[in-house]
């Protein structure tokens, strides 16, 4: 039971990170119906940006306040990654809008390959470690054989995910920008007829998606303390799986899907075999696509024409 509880906490943490990445996928898919396959690599890139600024702040400037360092790193990573997101949309996707459906998808795969190779060239192929930033843990339960702990890192990750989900849900459902996003999703031409600048709305969505990826990337670095140029692919694909599982286009679905994938992967590793944890995760994708293609919280299309 203690073992289960600990694995549950670990699974929720991993799932929160997947959920954060999945939010970016689902938001971009929601507005232009395109799977942004470069999103995983944007996440990896943001991890490196976080790493670089972490080292600058701690080694060069000698800052010691953990909270301050974390906050600055997070904000800088969000801003710089958002710029990348904007640039990628401008260069690789916008010119292809109105082209055939597969074109932006292929372009996204191209961006993905470019980003991982770019980081490999400028940062090297080896794993990049950072010294652990937050070490404290909360002991939840203890007996002679076993201790169940919740580390500060884990608490930060779960809280951040919950807050960002709430924030973005509010943004999409309750603000005029969110309404414009949903209008663009449903009928771009009509949105333009109502004075919505469609290009700007889509651009901003990419910027927000990239900023979310940066939060995930910073938390990933905080949690694992190490990042490599190839770390975009697998978490990216799993987060995509999470988005599909939860119902792509649905923000709560993305986080729910992320949590489920994280939990399944963690339990699979704990009770069966760690080598096959990816098999478990992707098996879910297959099963969901067969039996419930619209996902858990995806909307069934009932419309009067």
């Amino acid at each position: 039971m203690e073992f289960f509880a600990q694995q549950f906490i670990n699974g929720l943490t991993l799932g929160s990170i997947y959920g954060l990445i999945a939010l970016g996928y689902t938001m971009v898919f929601g507005i232009i119906g395109m799977v942004n396959f470069a999103h995983g690599d944007v996440f990896m890139l943001s991890s490196f940006i976080a790493l670089i600024f972490f080292l600058i702040l701690t080694s060069w400037l000698g800052l010691t306040s953990v909270a301050l360092v974390f906050l600055i790193v997070l904000i800088v990573a969000m801003i710089l990654t958002a710029l990348w997101g904007w640039a990628i949309e401008r260069v690789a996707y916008r010119p292809l809008r109105g082209s055939f459906r597969l074109a932006p998808l292929i372009s996204a795969i191209g961006v993905s390959i470019f980003l991982s190779n770019f980081v490999q060239v400028v940062q090297g192929a080896r794993n990049k470690p950072v010294p652990p930033l937050v070490r404290d843990v909360i002991v939840l339960y203890q007996n002679e054989q076993y201790t169940v702990t919740l580390s500060y890192k884990q608490a930060i990750i779960m809280t951040t995910t919950a807050l960002l989900l709430a924030g973005f849900w509010y943004l999409v459902q309750r603000t005029s920008f969110g309404r414009a996003q949903r209008a663009c999703e449903q009928d771009r031409r009509m949105a333009a007829l109502l004075g919505i600048n469609v290009d700007r709305t889509i651009s901003l969505t990419f910027v927000l998606g990239a900023a979310l990826a940066a939060v995930a990337g910073t938390l990933y670095l905080l949690y694992y303390g190490v990042v490599s140029f190839s770390d975009g692919f697998v978490p990216g694909v799993k987060a995509f799986t999470a988005a599909v599982l939860g119902g792509i286009g649905s923000l709560p679905g993305a986080v729910l899907g992320g949590l489920i994938i994280g939990l399944i992967e963690t339990f699979w590793s704990a009770y069966f075999s760690i080598e096959y944890k990816d098999v478990a995760a992707f098996l879910i994708l297959i099963v969901v696509l067969i039996f419930k293609p619209s996902g858990i919280l995806g909307r069934p299309e009932v419309e009067k024409v």
């Binding site: 005029s176 309404r179 414009a180 949903r182 209008a183 449903q186 009928d187 031409r189 009509m190 949105a191 333009a192 007829l193 109502l194 004075g195 919505i196 600048n197 469609v198 909307r299 009932v302 419309e303 009067k304």
Partner: protein, 265 residues
Amino acid sequence: MSVAGINVLVDETRARMAQADTQAGKAPLLSVRGVSAYYGSIRALKGVDVDVHEGEIVALIGANGAGKSTLMMTIFGQPQAREGTITFAGQDITKLPTHEIARLNLAQSPEGRRIFSRMTVRENLQMGAAVNGGRHFAEDLERMCTLFPRLAERIDQRGGTMSGGEQQMLAIARALMSRPRLLMLDEPSLGLAPLVVKQIFSAVRDLNAREGLTVFIVEQNAYHALKLAHRGYVMVNGAVTMSGTGQALLDDPQVKAAYLEGGSH
């Protein structure tokens, strides 16, 4: 009051009168001049001239595929006119992007209604008010609910679940939410029961009579449209072939033969 003060007043009055003069002096609110538009290599509009003056209801009638809806969309820059000019309120809008044209308070209820089906009625109306940043939203919402009481009943229902007639009312209300200087209606009667058509047309007539709303309406239902309109144009194969007052067109033997015989009297 000093003499200088009075002089200023006189000057202002003169300026205002001059302004009123130019408005009455037949500078049309919307002016389409020699406009041609293409879909690929197909010339869908062939040098169209249309004027809409402030306070008028102008109808454009014609058969299916004559290019009526293309003209409506071309005015909004989708597609952009390849030849000719379109001016609105004295500004050349021929090459403006669609959303900037909409921000000049030109509103359209387009062909096929294009309701945001996964948004509620309220959200659809909020989208309509987007150009004026949601100012006087509550007041305008109230007005729309008085104009179309059915919308008030369904305010929190999703647009996609409503009947065709309700969707058409919503499309018109959404366009009106921006307080447009010109309301463009594309086939508001299409696929609707005669009673609903009557309701919608009388709402448009009311708005024009009471608030001086300028309306440009495209219709296949020629009889109703010409009855409603002050002036009308007839479009055939992408070109305007006839124009005149609504009554003159109704009485014209050619129009009668082509668009009215056996029509909806």
